[in-house]
């Protein structure tokens, strides 16, 4: 019984990882399962967001503060992951923008953003 409690505690103490995994899998699921092209992009964004969390939680040190040198603090969070994720966010936004732009153009060309309808119109399934 105590072992179970300990295991539960271990699992709970990694709650950040669990959230990451949850976001990752649900994002990927939406991309695969939805036929609506905007919803796919939402899923894709969710999927990318999970990665931000993965990096950030690795850079966080318990009790650490923002990495601005100040005599009052001795423990800082690692700044590098934050910088990386700033870049990744930019990439993610850009991807979303390009994706949405494409969806707009597709909507203009086909009159729908449902994948099945589009494939039907083109009879072009790979």
């Amino acid at each position: 019984m105590t072992e179970l409690v300990k295991l539960g505690g271990d699992l709970a103490s990694h709650y950040n990882q669990w959230i990451t995994v949850f976001l990752m899998v649900s994002g990927l699921y939406i991309v695969i399962a939805r036929g609506n092209m905007v919803k796919k992009l939402v899923g894709l964004s969710l999927f990318q967001t999970s990665v931000y969390l993965l990096y950030l939680s690795a850079g966080k040190i318990l009790g650490g503060t923002a990495p601005i040198i100040d005599p009052a603090f001795t423990v800082y969070s690692h700044p590098l992951p934050h910088v990386l994720i700033l870049t990744a966010i930019v990439v993610g936004v850009a991807t979303l923008a390009v994706g949405l732009a494409l969806v707009v153009r597709i909507n203009e060309a086909y009159g729908t953003i449902e994948e099945d309808d589009i494939f039907e119109q083109d009879d072009n399934r790979p």
Binding site: V51, T95, L102, R105
Partner: protein
């Protein structure tokens, strides 16, 4: 100046893209592309010479130490890739003007060249950087611009193709960055060399295994390893001709380079191939790619799509060479990477010229075109012979290495499968030949003529290169062998 060459390699096309976007007008934008392509080629050639003379070049971007900053690291392997990418770009540049003018709406031509140069910068960046996260950024830079390039294609199907590529490409890149993140948490660095050093202590932990799996799948999506090739055929088929030539010749190749870099330099061949069952997996997938894609190619009605499927199969040969993980096998894989880039560039460029004249690229459009455009078609024909692997052409050299490599490790059946697959290539190439040379000309084809000089010269140049590199292999097989040795030795 010359010490900053590694940075210039990426910065020059990036600024070129900015300029092209600012001028917007077709002609100046094209001129910028030409100048940038040539400059990039000169830089990469100088880098290769320097690597051959002095060994590995390490360039610290902004003067930051590699432990926290970004290091550009050029050795024989990526010097070769840089040269390939920039050489392809330089050959495409003269061809591009008329082809783009005829296929892309005039108000978007400036943007087209801008995106093209961004893609070029991204691919060069992936190849040159020694930083895992920086590679991700460049991966996305090149991918996002490729999506835009493809979307400018001839009809609305290009939009869907670009969208599909965007979804798959983003998943691939995100998988890759997850893997890198796990490696970062285990080693505390993003520098490929330092990761490689520090991995030794944590090699068999679960995190490292998961990281390898994520990176493997992520890059496999990018390089269109069967069965993750879903996005490729449509993307190549419906993109503007110039974009197809460029992407087919370079994009997947750079992804393969990144794959090889991680597998051999970072994780180490001993860990990946000896301790883990990667070889059987990769060999199976490669063989499936070679046979599956070639079979599908036989039944295509769109010629560009047929050769796009052929690309999926040819990528299988390259990954097969990597999977063998011997000097001969890796040499075969790398030399096929170079050869296939040239071959496919020649074929797609020739098809681009046909599209320029005929306005369609389905089998029914190009029937009998051989009589009307004999020079273009002969050039494509020579490239196709090289694709089959007829001796005396570049394709033969790579097949020879792969066959010898499989016999060396005692896998007779694999050597047999390789030669057997060549016959599938004969099938779809033969179908193309017969349609082009023997069928009665279609109404569109009957009035076609040879493309203008500035398109014809690059096509013939590439076709000649596929023969030249079948005879003089110093630059391809010779370099590939040194690169293979370097890869198998590890990073430091």
């Amino acid at each position: 100046m010359s010490e900053h060459l590694p940075a210039l390699q990426v910065v020059v096309p990036l600024f070129g893209a900015l300029l092209a976007a600012l001028v917007r007008r077709p002609w100046p934008a094209w001129l910028i592309t030409v100048v940038v392509s040539i400059a990039v080629l000169v830089i990469s050639a100088m880098l290769l010479v320097r690597v051959l003379d002095e060994g590995v070049i390490s360039y610290h971007l902004g003067g930051w130490d590699p432990t926290i900053g970004i290091e550009y690291r050029v050795d024989i392997v990526n010097a070769l890739i840089l040269l390939l990418v920039s050489a392809v770009a330089a050959v495409i540049a003269p061809f591009a003007r008329l082809s783009v003018l005829s296929e892309v709406p005039e108000d978007r031509i400036g943007w087209f060249y801008s995106m093209y140069l961004v893609a070029l910068a991204g691919l060069l960046g992936i190849a040159i950087t020694g930083d895992a996260f920086n590679a991700f950024v460049f991966l996305e830079v090149s991918s996002l611009s490729s999506y835009a390039l493809i979307a400018m294609g001839r009809d609305r199907r290009a939009l869907v193709a670009a969208y599909q590529y965007l979804i798959m490409g983003t998943i691939g890149a995100t998988f890759y960055v997850i893997g890198v993140g796990l490696l970062y948490t285990m080693t505390g660095t993003l520098n490929l060399g330092l990761i490689a050093d520090r991995l030794a202590d944590v090699e068999s932990t679960r995190s490292v295994l998961v990281a390898l799996a994520f990176i493997f799948v992520g890059i496999s999506l990018k390089l269109a390893l069967f069965p993750l090739h879903y996005w490729l055929p449509n993307a190549y088929a419906y993109a503007p001709s110039v974009a197809t030539v460029f992407l087919a010749a370079t994009a997947t190749k750079v992804a393969i380079y990144l794959f090889a870099r991680f597998v051999f330099s970072v994780f180490g061949a001993g860990f990946v191939f000896a301790d883990l069952p990667v070889t059987p997996v990769l060999v199976t997938l490669s063989v499936a790619a070679i046979f599956g894609a070639a079979t599908v190619a036989v039944f295509q009605s769109d010629v560009k799509r047929m050769f796009a499927y052929s690309s999926v199969g040819q990528i299988g040969y390259i990954t097969l060479g990597l999977a063998l993980a011997t000097v001969t096998g890796l040499t075969g894989g790398l030399v096929h990477l170079l050869n296939h880039a040239i071959i496919k560039a020649a074929i797609f460029m020739g098809l681009g010229a046909v599209f320029f004249r005929v306005g369609g690229i389905e089998f029914k459009d190009i029937a009998g075109i051989g009589r009307r455009m004999p020079i273009t078609m002969s050039a494509i024909g020579i490239a196709c012979l090289s694709l089959i692997g007829v001796p005396g052409t570049a394709g033969f050299v790579s097949k020879w290495y792969l066959i010898v490599a499989s016999i060396e490790v005692g896998w007779w059946w694999l050597g047999f499968l390789i030669v057997l697959s060549s016959m599938l290539t004969v099938l779809y190439v033969g179908r193309f030949f017969e349609c082009v040379w023997f069928r009665e000309p279609s109404p569109e084809a009957a009035t076609a003529t040879e493309p203008p000089f500035e398109m014809l010269v690059p096509i013939c140049l590439l076709a000649a290169a596929t023969v030249y590199f079948g005879i003089d292999t110093e630059l391809t097989a010779g370099m590939a062998q040194r690169a293979a040795t370097a890869l198998l030795e590890g990073l430091r």
